[in-house]
Symmetry: C2
Subunit: 386 residues, 2 copies
């Protein structure tokens, strides 16, 4: 396998883009990434685009061809990949593997989702397609309710409180205040979270990530060609992907995400490092309990100890590992197909040392963790400053 570097990154503002459609968002992030890499479109060999539900959100499938066309890259083979909310991570992984294996040299990894053209109820219904439609969705289980089961089980098993989880939201909103592309770059108090309405007890509105439009794009290249395009390449040193049961009720545990654990083990093994080596991580906090399960599954904290991390300042600047400097899905926003690439955008920015006010000092290793459904797919990537 060849060594692979990120040579260009681009992102749109995350939020409600009433004036831009799916293709315009992807195009904006794509052009920024191509400009950042300073590469000619003709040099590109292939592309992968992560998108969960263009068909349902925007009546548009076939996004590979759409993007190749509107980015002026025809006849470039661009392939859409989908793994629910992990679609972006999967696009990055396919792009990474295609360069690492020598299939291609210069590859686009894109993620995009346009969600705000529909009402919240319809969006919630569409997102339920990430779970087991026959045995979860059709009997009324939405994603807040599935994550509520995990949160409740965790509270029962480990004696954690709703406040523990609320601190995750407070921490991520604080991080977001320094993030130019974040949807909600403003601080919130513990009281704001605790007094917000229950959407599926014990999950409250402020435990949940928002509905978001946005796109993020990376350009990958063989490391030995990267310096022709950038003075600060960031290497992708590992990629892991694992599946678990599509339905939550079929899982071995409610309080651990096995796919995360397996994908992380694959990645640590490939990178030949351990969780203690990671300086900065972007993890999948679609709900606050998601971040807690993630930081345990990734090995940053022991089982049952993740819930206290945000409260005790262990996952913010100066802590054990800085988690979600972007604000996470919670405060930066969660355009589902773009999230995995946004995570990578943020980690590359950190490892380039270009994160400004939110820079994690001397960050050497970064990690991204992207989950599909309630944990049926997990994708983990590890990045290193070269």
């Amino acid at each position: 396998m060849r060594r692979v570097a990120v040579i260009g990154i681009g992102i749109t503002k995350f939020g409600e883009h009433w004036g831009k459609d799916l293709r315009e968002l992807a195009l904006e992030a794509g052009i920024k990434a191509i400009e950042d890499a300073g590469i000619e479109g003709e040099r590109l060999d292939a592309g992968f685009v992560g998108n969960m539900a263009g068909g349902s959100f925007a009546s548009q499938e076939h996004l590979g061809a759409l993007l190749a066309d509107h980015m002026g890259l025809n006849p470039l083979p661009v392939t859409r990949v989908e793994a629910a909310c992990a679609s972006g991570g999967i696009a990055l992984r396919q792009a990474y593997l295609s360069v690492a294996s020598g299939q291609h040299d210069f590859v686009v990894a894109a993620g995009v989702e346009k969600m705000t053209d529909l009402d919240t109820e319809t969006v919630t219904e569409i997102l339920a397609a990430a779970g087991d439609r026959e045995w979860e969705g059709f009997v009324g289980a939405t994603f807040p309710s599935l994550y509520a089961l995990m949160m409740r089980a965790y509270m029962l098993e480990h004696g954690a409180t709703e406040e523990d989880f609320a601190w995750v939201a407070v921490k991520n909103h604080k991080h977001a205040t320094k993030v130019p592309y974040a949807q909600f770059p403003r601080e919130i108090t513990l009281e704001t979270v605790m007094k917000s309405k229950y959407i599926a007890t014990p999950i409250k509105v402020f435990d949940a990530s928002p509905i978001t439009d946005g796109a993020a794009v990376l350009i990958l290249a063989p490391l030995d060609e990267a310096y022709s395009y950038t003075s600060d390449p960031v290497e992708i040193v590992a990629s892991g992907q694992a599946s678990d049961t599509i339905a939550l009720h079929d899982r071995e545990y409610l309080t651990r995400v096995k796919a995360t654990e397996i994908a992380a083990q694959q990645a640590y093994k490939q990178a030949n490092i351990g969780p203690e080596d990671i300086d900065v991580a972007e993890v999948h906090d679609a709900f606050t309990v998601g971040e807690v399960l993630a930081i345990e599954g990734l090995g940053f904290f022991k089982y049952g100890e993740g819930a206290k991390a945000a409260r005790e300042g262990l996952t913010t600047f100066g802590g054990k590992v800085v988690v979600n400097t972007s604000g996470g899905l919670k405060a930066a926003g969660h355009p589902v197909g773009a999230t995995g690439l946004k995570q990578a955008y943020e980690i590359v920015t950190q490892l380039r040392g270009k994160a400004g006010e939110r820079q994690v000092k001397d960050a050497q290793y970064g990690l991204t963790h992207n989950v599909g459904g309630s944990g049926a797919t997990a994708v983990v990537h590890i990045f290193r400053r070269v």
Copy 2:
């Protein structure tokens, strides 16, 4: 690049499966393929599943995880890929590339679509997501109407008649009579086609492929390990993929499909053969004009001469190249995400010499040609008897 072989194939009956859902169809074809290969599930390294619109047809996305789960293959990383009606071909290509490049050894390539739970109008609307929704679908263009523009332009440019195209349907239905999995295994007459209703002049009902449920699965392996699993491996010797404009009105030609031409050139170059070496081909006849444009774009016939091929018997047994022994999309059926894998299933069956009454004698080279939308994506694979 390593040499890659097909070591197992499986397919469901194509048709209206009122009693089986998406996962059951994929599972049925998957188990057949695994049994055909005689491989243990634990040996598999990865999977790719082609599906166009599970979200819209069946309210189910995240098919990679769903299939890994229901085929008992967790934590196998299985990734859904989508390129409209070329989704199956793209799944095959990703699986092929992952073995050829040495990323993985044993890989599943699956395709599935469940379309018949909805009424025809809704299905037509969902399929319009394969084109340019903003500039085609929203102004009323459906796929029959887009292909009608191509057919009309071809008739004008080359003096072809509606009867020329009708012969394609007659030929493919005749082929389907020998095909156990075909949706419509019955002969039709020229009169049946010509007297059928116009759905978008000059396209009639019998120029169009039907709405179909079905699944097809292949198992790929490095050629040098293939003989441990099968006595008759078939090699995949080339894979090509190209994009063109998503909207038909942006194309350079209405009477040629450029993405087909480019993907075919890539494939012939990789295989180091020409169109004259192909004995049997499965091409994308979503509409009869599609087959005509395909056999020209693939280089079997000169521009303007493809329309006469079916009438003159040049694309059936004993002709120049036998096209669509499966009955094509027209008579075997077109479960969109499964079609590319069905094409590969048929070609492998031919090259194994196991096609029974429909066997093409001494077939050495076979080709599959899968198109997304009105030609925005084309995928071409070439197979060889080892």
